[in-house]
Symmetry: C2
Subunit: 165 residues, 2 copies
């Protein structure tokens, strides 16, 4: 099972945006700079979160990104599905209907047991991700991070922030 590295980048950016107040935004260039990522790489994932309704994008020279809804209403599952797509990881190709054992499709009334088991496991994965809100992640960062790291993040955000707080 593989997850793209965009999930980590997207989650860290969303956590940083959760620290903005009011209608303030951070440009993609600032988010990329702070996380040591290429802006063109990051924009793709930021736009995916905009398309999923997690972020709002303000265009123009004073524009940037902010959360589209409260951090309490954004889960890690929302971020993962925005970046990775909502399709299940397991795709049943109905192998059982191929080859010399094949019968007409009406002989395969129920989904294959392998498919059912794989999708059940994926539901467990999604349920666990849905239990983690962005607000909880941010609270964890603030409680666990080194005080100098928290201070640097706050200074950086204040310097790069655009719009009214």
């Amino acid at each position: 099972m593989k997850l793209g590295d965009g999930v980590e980048a997207a989650a860290h950016c969303a956590a940083m945006l959760a620290g903005l107040e009011g209608q303030a935004v951070l440009p993609a260039a600032a988010l990329a700079e702070y996380h040591g990522l290429s802006p063109s790489y990051l924009v793709k994932h930021l736009q995916a979160m905009v398309a999923a309704g997690l972020l709002a994008s303000v265009p123009g020279p004073a524009g940037g990104y902010r959360l589209a809804r409260p951090a309490e209403d954004i889960t890690l599952l929302d971020i993962v599905l925005a970046v990775e797509g909502a399709e299940p990881a397991f795709r049943c190709a109905e192998i059982r209907q191929r080859g010399p054992g094949a019968l007409p499709p009406e002989c395969f009334g129920k989904p294959c047991g392998i498919n059912r088991a794989m999708l059940k496991a994926e539901r467990a994965w999604r349920t666990a991700l849905a239990e983690v809100t962005l607000a909880a992640l941010v609270a964890g960062f603030q409680a666990e991070s080194h005080p100098r790291s928290v201070a640097r993040g706050a200074e950086f955000t204040a310097a790069r922030r655009r719009g009214t707080a």
Copy 2:
């Protein structure tokens, strides 16, 4: 999140091998033929299951594959990890240690909260897969499959089987 299509092929082949008796084997060509797959594609996944200790491979013109241990002792997780590799789907690149907010590594004592949440969800996925044995999958196939499909599978296996039952 993406899973390779080899998981479905490997699981169906393991289920077919679970129907063999004694020391009998089925060659890769027969497994490929029955599932409508290319032998060269399938051999890669069969060998991965051999390497993981799930299948035994008997070399030579009368050779083929059989389960290396009882179907009750092989889980869907065993098959998925054999084919996909045992690494976690989420790989933390420690983005938090990059950029202008970076501090010395000793300032990051605990794993990142995003990483912990992603790995916790993956444990839930693996736990669900570990609860499904190959024996249970086969029992489900036999109970749910069309009688003609079961009969064709048995005929095919009897015709292609090698070795003593």
